[in-house]
Amino acid sequence: MEIDALPNGNSPAATSTPSPATTPAGSTPVSKAGQLSESLKLEHQFLRVPFEHYKKTIRANHRVVEKEMSSVISGVSQAADGDLSQDDAVSHLNSLVSRLQGLKRKLEEGNLAEHLQAQRCKARIDHLESVDLENVAEWNNTRVKRILVDYMLRMSYYETAIKLAQSSNIQDLVDIDVFQEAKKVIDALRNKEVAPALAWCADNKSKLKRSKSKFEFQLRLQEFIELVRDGNSMRAITYTRKYLAPWGATHLKELQRVFATLAFRSNTECLQYKALFEPKQWDFLMDQFKQEFCRIYGMTLEPLLNIYMQAGLSALKTPFCYEDDCPKEDPLSQESFRKLASPLPFSKQHHSKLVCYITKEIMDTENPPLVLPNGYVYSTKALEEMASKNNGNITCPRSGLVCDYSEVVKAFIS
């Protein structure tokens, strides 16, 4: 076990020379910069989401170009192979030309949309670059707002999200438009409509397939259940043939289970099947959608707020936080924060970290702790100031003991 070399306590004349090995790195500019760059690495979602959105737009626009172009070319082929009169040929070709004009316009519009999204991606990289030791307080404030907007969007509090983003002009730094795409699907699911959700699945087919998602299957199952609920047995069966059968290869058990609902009515008392008819199933679908959605865009499944708060509460949690005289600056002095922190682990320290009760400053070798005759400890700075204003007298703010400055003893803490 290594014992750090401490200055010899018995020589009061020894001035405190800071020993480099034991001086805590605390708040020197060196470590603040290190902390800054570590914190930037947490911002994957910040850059990834607008990029995925950009990529999607690019691909979608290009698909339109390919489709239209290929239509026009085959239109020409058809005319050449067919048997049209001159007038018909001319009008056919004219229609093809105007289709191309339309395509040109769409391409231009698409370019504009892409440009805006690219600007947004760049603005975010710039934002990350812009932080330095001078503006860090403001930058951190912006981060808190970004985290709050993310929370509002995930909880579907869109008004609040928009207002908050506008108030600090951070529209480029948050993903409101991406979530509004999700809003359509979520609102529809809330109204027990699956159409927008299915359209979304079609749009993101390849990505959903790659992640082996069964979300589309679950949507189809729900539609089936609704048909059964309405008593439309025949339609339910045709629906199964068309939409559910393809999933039979991979999800046979589940398909069988849901298909069996045909044998029951929607007011069945059989618990297993009653659950399938519950309106809660729609909530489940909404949650599933949110998860798939976040996965596709490279977002965390949990709101950023929860992630940061859990880490923060755990880092701050000490047994002393729960005492009555816990300083108000500690968030864990408040009931609501204590409640959130209760299932979380306590923090742990390997080295002593001492805070002066009076000045709230760190007591270290530069501001060593001094001990009163009754064992209460305060920083040198605090007691020196108190003594200088009170004729060399010191009054302990907690116990009331009065003594002379000469009676305090220095403590040596590693």
């Binding site: 014992i3 018995n10 800071p18 480099p20 605390g26 500019p29 060196v30 470590s31 603040k32 290190g34 800054l36 760059s37 914190s39 690495k41 947490l42 911002e43 979602q45 850059l47 070319i73 020409v76 049209l84 001319v90 030309v97 191309l100 040109k104 892409e114 690219a118 990289i125 951190n140 404030n141 509090y157 609040t160 499944l301 949990e302 929860n306 992630i307 940061y308 859990q310 880490a311 923060g312 509460l313 755990s314 701050l316 000490t318 936080c321 816990c326 108000k328 600056e329 968030p331 959130l340 979380l344 682990p345 923090s347 320290q349 390997h350 805070v355 001990v371 064992g375 400890v377 403590a411």
Partner: protein, 413 residues
């Protein structure tokens, strides 16, 4: 710079990448990311302009075909419309516009696939790895958020939020801060009356807290009056408001009276710094601090503080998860974090004593004890070192002094 302090500064730079170097390193990586993205944009523009080209060409070919078909057909050497169609079909096949789009698209795809890989290299791709699946009551979180908005002066947003979240109106959280911002707003536009009213009402408590903010406000107002209304008004003001409490603020009154001598030529006076505009802002900050103190609230929003702690702690926790793969159950149920999380000193609210011998954290059952040599150990360590014999002296592990158990005093940090 003093040579001794320079060498100390050098020692602070650890052998691994120092903080300053880390930030520079960061910027270099961000530049790489920027370049990769610029590449995507470039390839996209190329692909797009190729598409435009092809649309143009196909359009032209078809338009030419149309004009050829419509040209005056008199002589038999003019091709008939069927031949024109066949020609255009062949021409389009030759140009093969769709396959011309292939190459730019391929290059674009390469760039589009490379970018997220670069992102994953620099950033931590999944910061939710350390997240514990515990129930967090939505209402508690919402209450915290609403309080945060009101404390930050964002009253509209706070109201919008409580409505959308269908939470009850947190009037008791809102009104104290409404009042505070009203006072601050007035202060910032030059009207110190609301602040003075508040200070007068709370005079006793402010004194108890050791704050002289009422005096500072009077001082600021005096300076303001001196600058705007002249000597006589300023003197009247001082006689009315400050002389009655001369017993506590005589030095200030003396200074302010001396300022009268320099009215109009403030820059020459030795007190010119009292006239600088930043005092108003600083005073506003101090008022906010005292206000919050009287409310029993913290000055910083507890939500911001917690998030700051999270930002500082999360990298450590995520690194920890790398060694805890497959031990999710252990992670979910542990009572203490297994590694220390270093927080900045502004986030140190409690004294934590760690015994240098046993590495245990001090607690009520195991308090820190001061040895007669000045070193501090926890009680259990002392018991062990003295071999459970409270009459025998033992050697302090740090210095050669012999200390007696009875002489050890309990410390209260």
């Amino acid at each position: 710079m003093h040579p001794l302090s320079l060498s100390l500064v050098c020692r602070f730079i650890s052998p691994s990448l120092s903080g300053e170097k880390k930030l520079i390193h960061c910027n270099m990586e961000l530049n790489t990311i920027k370049d990769a993205f610029d590449r995507v944009v470039k390839k996209q523009k190329l692909s797009s302009s190729k598409s435009q080209d092809m649309i143009e060409r196909v359009s032209q070919e078809i338009e030419q075909a149309i004009s050829r078909m419509q040209s005056v057909s008199g002589t038999t050497s003019q091709p008939d419309h069927k031949e024109v169609l066949a020609e255009v079909k062949t021409k389009l096949k030759e140009i093969s516009p769709l396959s011309q789009l292939d190459n730019p698209q391929k290059e674009l795809s390469v760039a589009l696939n490379k970018y997220p890989k670069i992102l994953e290299k620099f950033f931590n791709p999944d910061i939710s790895k350390a997240y514990r699946n515990v129930d967090s009551d939505v209402h508690t979180v919402n209450q915290i958020l609403a309080s945060h908005f009101y404390r930050e002066g964002l009253f509209d947003i706070g109201d919008c939020f409580t409505e959308e979240a269908q939470e009850p109106e947190y009037a008791d959280k809102k009104s104290p801060f409404l009042e505070m911002y009203r006072i601050l707003k007035a202060m910032r536009s030059g009207d110190l009356e609301p602040a003075l009213e508040w200070a007068a009402i709370n005079r006793e408590k402010l004194n108890q807290n050791g704050s002289n903010i009422e005096l500072q406000l009077r001082r600021l107002q005096f300076i303001d009056i001196l600058q705007k209304k002249g000597r006589d008004e300023a003197l009247k003001y001082c006689r009315k408001y400050m002389t009655p409490c001369a017993h506590v603020c005589m030095p200030d009154i003396q200074k302010l009276m001396a300022c009268l001598l320099w009215a109009g030529r403030v820059e020459c006076s030795p007190y010119y710094d009292l006239f600088l505009p930043h005092h108003a802002e600083k005073l506003a900050e101090e008022l906010a601090q005292q206000y919050c103190k009287l409310l029993g609230e913290s000055y910083e929003s507890p939500l911001s503080t917690t998030i700051a702690a999270g930002v500082q702690g999360l990298p450590t926790l995520l690194k920890l998860m790398n060694v805890m793969t497959g031990r999710k159950q252990e992670w979910q149920s542990m009572k203490h974090l297994p590694v220390p999380v270093d927080l900045a000193k502004e986030l140190q609210f409690h004294s934590i004593f760690v015994c240098p011998v046993s590495r245990d954290q001090a607690s009520e059952e195991n308090p820190p004890m001061l040895l007669s040599c000045g070193h501090v150990l926890c009680k259990q360590s002392i018991t062990k070192l003295s071999k459970n014999n409270s009459t025998r002296p033992f050697k302090c592990p740090y210095c050669p002094t012999e200390v007696e158990v009875g002489q050890c005093r309990q410390l209260h940090f």
